[in-house]
């Protein structure tokens, strides 16, 4: 039995926004897989809910006229796994979706909830960071687009104002076309676990040279992050074993893992230095490179 005070179902995006404004204490619930845990734990501020679960306006994955990929915030992880668009253009996001929870979770948990929940371990976040995804956020009479990398203020805190809702995530063509990527999740279990470290690599090669290199981590800091110094240093470098070693050396300066009772900083750092190598190797493999 949950201490649920109010639960209203929205039939459209506009109605959801109106309901949020009408009920200042209320929160959105999409799949509920983060919200209901908090409600069960008796946390304050989760007992009034505006329900956007399964809203058709939010549940889609499509290419627009510019060949940008648009993912509705209400797309569940299984939608992402099964989407031909994702499989063809950004298999890395499929890796990430597939690593979430278990089958039941992937059937209800949404990518929007994953991002808006604001935690550093969110499995879809590192890939979206690596892809320079842009979030479309709507308010009562407003609509704004912000890069995912600007969305996070701190653990559990994101750039959403009262009455605002994340409607979709845009991955523009220039960020995925010709790129190969891989998401490597390191956790204590192969399912039903949060990432100890998550690592997403997206790259382009030409004549065995890294034309573009992007690497993002989850749990390497208080929010998901890109490793900008590493990325710049590696651009235009030749694909080789040495390159992998250099990446492993370089990321150390970019990341900022913490000691918690779950894992020490040293432990996480060791994993980070290994995952970047393995994720890069796999991404290179997808790009047809051999090392």
């Amino acid at each position: 039995m949950f201490d649920l005070k109010k639960h209203v179902k929205a039939r459209s995006i506009d109605e959801a926004i109106a309901l949020l404004i009408e009920n200042p204490g209320a929160r959105l619930i999409a799949g509920g897989t983060d919200i209901l845990i908090k409600l069960r734990h008796g946390k304050q501020g989760f007992s009034e809910l505006v329900d956007i679960h399964d809203l058709p306006q939010l549940r889609f994955i499509k290419l627009d006229e510019n060949n940008d990929i648009l993912i509705g915030s209400g797309a569940v992880f299984n939608d992402i796994i099964e989407s031909g668009i994702i499989q063809t253009h950004i298999p890395m996001l499929k890796d990430a979706a597939q690593s979430v929870g278990g089958p039941q979770i992937r059937n209800v948990a949404t990518i929007g909830g994953n991002i808006c929940n604001g935690v550093t371990s969110a499995d879809s976040a590192s890939s979206l960071f690596a892809l320079d995804a842009v979030l479309e956020i709507r308010g009562r009479k407003t609509k704004r687009n912000i890069p995912v990398s600007d969305f996070y203020f701190g653990p559990g805190r994101v750039d959403l104002k009262k009455g605002e809702i994340l409607t979709n995530i845009r991955i523009s063509q220039k960020n995925y076309k010709g790129s190969s990527g891989f998401y490597y999740k390191y956790a204590m279990r192969n399912a039903m676990d949060i990432a100890t470290i998550g690592c997403a690599v997206s790259l382009k090669t030409k004549n065995h040279v890294l034309e573009d290199y992007r690497i993002a981590f989850g749990v390497a800091g208080p929010v998901p992050m890109r490793c900008k110094i590493t990325e710049e240093t590696m651009r235009n470098k030749k694909v080789s074993r040495k390159l992998l070693q250099d990446i492993s050396q370089a990321v150390e300066k970019d990341v900022n893992p913490r000691t918690s009772w779950r894992a020490t900083k040293e432990f996480r750092m060791n994993i980070i230095k290994e995952l970047c190598v393995r994720a890069t190797k796999e991404a290179l493999k997808r790009a047809g490179e051999e090392i």
């Binding site: 204590m188 279990r189 399912a191 039903m192 100890t196 070693q245 492993s248 060791n270 190598v277």
Partner: protein, 766 residues
């Protein structure tokens, strides 16, 4: 013939259709909810408690604190009563306590209309504490100046020592090598699917009915009587379907409290339904052990001497206490019976959650240390791990020097040989020589076990069976043996069908148990049930068979020797012709006006033997050094459990056991802050119980022996499969990396520390 057949579980359909009724399905309308107020410190005493505000909350029925409960201390362990006062369980528990012994100790209890109100009321209770330093490490607990967690205990719950065989010291002197090792096992949790739940109400002025998810209904009845100082016969315990227990429900945890509450509240129904978090904190877990082992070995590979010193941590209350270390230690004499052996163990109190019975009762800890030490000895001599064990293990006809009994059935060697063949051991050993360098390595491991089939002669082994012939020619069976998901009702039905020559479908076992009507049996634990109940079932079924045939003689006028039962019919033994079917006979026995009567048989029987069982695990692993991960490529358990009554169910027990064993080996550990006693991970996200994605395909095989002390030649199987995966995996890690991982679990966080210590980190990267 039903024994040995893979018949469908008797309750399979009821369970998969959701019709099987568990405790929660049976709650009476309006059942009140009780929730504990638990301490937020690990060691101390309540100075003040204020419940006034909480009591005034609408919907709160009552609040009781340590001031309101009976003062008589009771023991909670689900053991049979011991007529020998020396052997009594430690009585150290009150229903609620003012003295705080672990973080989560039960100080007060709120009874309310629902759990939301109860939780709100809990938040309004104000408690102030006198705090003491938490005693968590053995060093601190045993310090002469340490506070006594239980007054007068010196923080030691029990201690014992034994030796068997030749003089141990002499044998160590004569040994070519003496190898020493120190081993540690972690606190782990049962993680049964159904959390602890009980409710109680009164249906008369002085009778308490308790419905509970328990492995031991008859013991619950006795202990509730003791805890509340009321006559045992005033308590009636009903056990519906159970969603697993693994030993955690071989303890009397919630029942005395719900009985107390209904007594206080005019017989109103009151339930306690623990959340997962509470269940993992406030029930029982597996005792962490610290074990020192010394092994004497000759150059030819004969182990000649062994010494073991054990510290077992029982936590805040004794529960099963020292019985765990004692039972664990006793299995050595049936595994390696020809070594001179000395064993010493102490069980300590500590300011951490309470340990109790858990699948295999001390053996996962002792056999882990024993089989790691045995591996180290084999490697010291340079003999193949399997060959080395074959030289030293028990053989049929060996004397178990601790029990003084001959080992009558023993398939240990055959188990090792089967496992070795399955694994293609010799070839793989050679092949894996290539994988001993670099970041990713491979290795093979093996470990053996011996276990018992019950608790005799430490405890009584009593089982009861009642069989009644129905009017339609089928039979109903009642047993005291407790079905908790392990499948015991099914094999009871198979045994009855076998002896009565009835079709399996014609045997119905009454599932729910009710101490008012069920025959007496002490319950589901010690892997005892199939073994102990078999002796009662065989006798009862034989008795009923005689009665049926006697009635057939009355009806037909034929002599006793002329008739028999076959496939549910009375047949003429000379011609094999059907004389009549069972329904005809039964209707006559019930309704003929002069002859016959209701045909029933009831037997209560004490088994006074305890057959040892044997088994082993073989495992093939890959160690990913830079990621601190162990991957199991192949694993097999081979068991000698006597005659296998139902191969599918037996396989299920092995798979479940291996699954749990892998969890204990690789990931499971209750993490406790060493300074404050705070438990970090009493939930299934942070307690790394494996998922199906973490477990490889499990293989199993059996070596069928015939055990003469059992009704159908069967021995125990419920617990043994859990024992050997951890040492086998540890031995495989040693094979792969050359590093001895002598503490469990071999989780990434622990491997990180140990690989670092052994210089495997940094230099090796892929």
């Amino acid at each position: 013939m039903a024994v040995g057949k893979p018949v469908k579980r008797i309750d399979a359909i009821a369970k998969v259709t959701g019709r099987a009724e568990y405790t929660q399905d049976l709650l009476k309308p309006g059942t009140l909810v009780a929730r504990y107020y638990r301490s937020t410190i690990a060691h101390g005493r309540v100075k003040t408690i204020d419940v006034k505000k909480a009591l005034n909350l609408k919907g709160v029925e009552a609040i009781f604190t340590f001031d309101d409960v009976p003062e008589n201390k009771f023991a909670t362990a689900g053991h049979p009563f011991s007529v020998d006062p020396e052997h009594k369980d430690v009585e150290d528990r009150l229903l609620l306590t003012r003295d705080i012994r672990f973080m989560g100790d039960e100080i007060a209890i709120v009874v309310a209309k629902d759990n939301i109100i109860a939780d709100q009321a809990l938040k309004m209770i104000k408690v102030s504490y006198q705090e003491y330093e938490p005693l968590i490490s053995p060093l601190k607990i045993l310090d002469k100046k340490a506070r006594q967690i239980h007054e007068g205990s010196s923080n030691i719950v029990g201690e014992h020592e034994f030796a068997f065989g030749k003089n141990v010291d002499e044998e160590f002197k004569k040994a070519d090598h003496v190898i020493k090792g120190k081993f540690e096992t972690a606190m782990v949790q049962h993680c049964h699917i159904e959390n602890h739940i009980s409710y109680a109400y009164m249906d008369d002025i002085d009778r308490i009915i308790i419905v509970s998810s328990t492995q031991i209904p008859h013991i619950v009845r006795r202990i509730v009587g003791q805890a509340l100082s009321i006559q045992l016969s005033r308590v009636r315990v009903i056990k519906p379907f159970i969603g697993g227990g693994f030993g955690n429900k071989q303890d009397v945890i919630l029942e005395p409290m719900v009985a107390f509450l209904t007594l206080k509240l005019d017989g109103k129904p009151v339930q306690i339904n623990l959340s997962r978090e509470e269940c993992m904190l406030g029930t029982r877990n597996r005792h962490p052990f610290f074990v020192k082992v010394k092994t004497g070995v000759m150059n030819d590979g004969t182990m000649t001497a062994r010494e073991m010193d054990v510290i077992s941590i029982t936590g805040a209350y004794a529960s099963h206490g020292h019985a765990i270390a004692s039972a664990g230690g006793s299995k050595q004499s049936s595994l390696y019976p020809r070594m001179a052996t000395r064993f010493h163990a102490r069980t300590l109190y500590a300011n951490i959650p309470v340990a109790g019975a858990m699948r295999a009762y001390g053996s996962p800890q002792i056999i882990y240390a024993l089989e790691c030490a045995t591996e180290d000895a084999a490697r010291k001599i340079g003999i193949d791990s399997v060959e080395f064990r074959l030289k030293n293990i028990a053989r049929q006809g060996d004397m178990n020097l601790l029990s003084g009994k001959e080992i009558l059935s023993c398939g240990m060697a055959e188990c090792l040989i089967k496992g070795k063949e399955f694994m293609d051991w010799d070839n793989k050993k050679k092949e894996y020589e290539k994988y001993k360098k670099g970041p990713v390595r491979r290795g093979l491991g093996v470990a053996c076990l011996s276990y018992a089939s019950g608790t005799y002669p430490v405890c009584v082994e009593i089982a009861g069976t009642r069989i009644a012939l129905n009017q339609d020619g089928t039979v109903h069976v009642q047993v005291g043996a407790t079905e908790i998901g392990q499948g015991s009702d099914t094999i009871v039905a198979q045994m009855v069908a076998e002896t009565l020559s009835l079709p399996y479908e014609d045997v119905r076992v009454v599932q729910a148990q009710d101490t008012d009507v069920s025959p007496f049996d002490t319950g589901a634990y010690a892997s005892r049930q199939a073994y102990v109940v078999s002796n009662a079932v065989l006798r009862a079924a034989n008795e009923l068979k005689t009665k049926i045939l006697n009635h057939a003689c009355l009806m037909t006028g034929k002599g006793k020797k002329a008739l028999d039962i076959k496939k549910g019919n009375i047949i003429d033994v000379n011609t094999d012709n059907v004389v009549m079917d069972m329904k005809t006979l039964s209707m006559d026995s019930f309704y003929h006006k002069e002859r016959g009567c209701q045909l029933t048989a009831e037997v209560s029987f004490k088994t006074t033997a305890n057959a040892p069982v044997f088994g082993c695990t073989f495992v093939d692993i890959t160690v990913d050094i830079p990621l601190f991960k162990i991957k199991i490529n192949e694993i097999i358990n081979v068991h000698d459990a006597g005659v296998i009554i139902n191969p599918v169910q037996a396989g299920g027990q092995v798979h479940g056991g291996v699954f749990m064993g892998i969890g204990a080996a690789l990931s499971e550990e209750v993490l406790i802050d060493p300074d404050s006693g705070y438990v970090y991970n009493n939930n299934l996200l942070d307690y790394k119980f494996p998922t199906f994605m973490d477990i490889p395909q499990i293989h199993h095989d059996f070596v069928e022996t015939f055990e003469p002390t059992s009704g159908y030649g069967n021995k125990s199987l419920g617990e043994p499969p859990v024992i050997t995966p951890p040492p086998a995996i540890r031995n495989a890690v040693l094979d792969a990396t050359g590093v001895c991982i002598n503490s469990l679990p071999m989780s990434p966080r622990n491997l990180f520390v140990l690989f670092q210590k052994n210089g495997l980190i940094g230099s090796i990267r892929s």
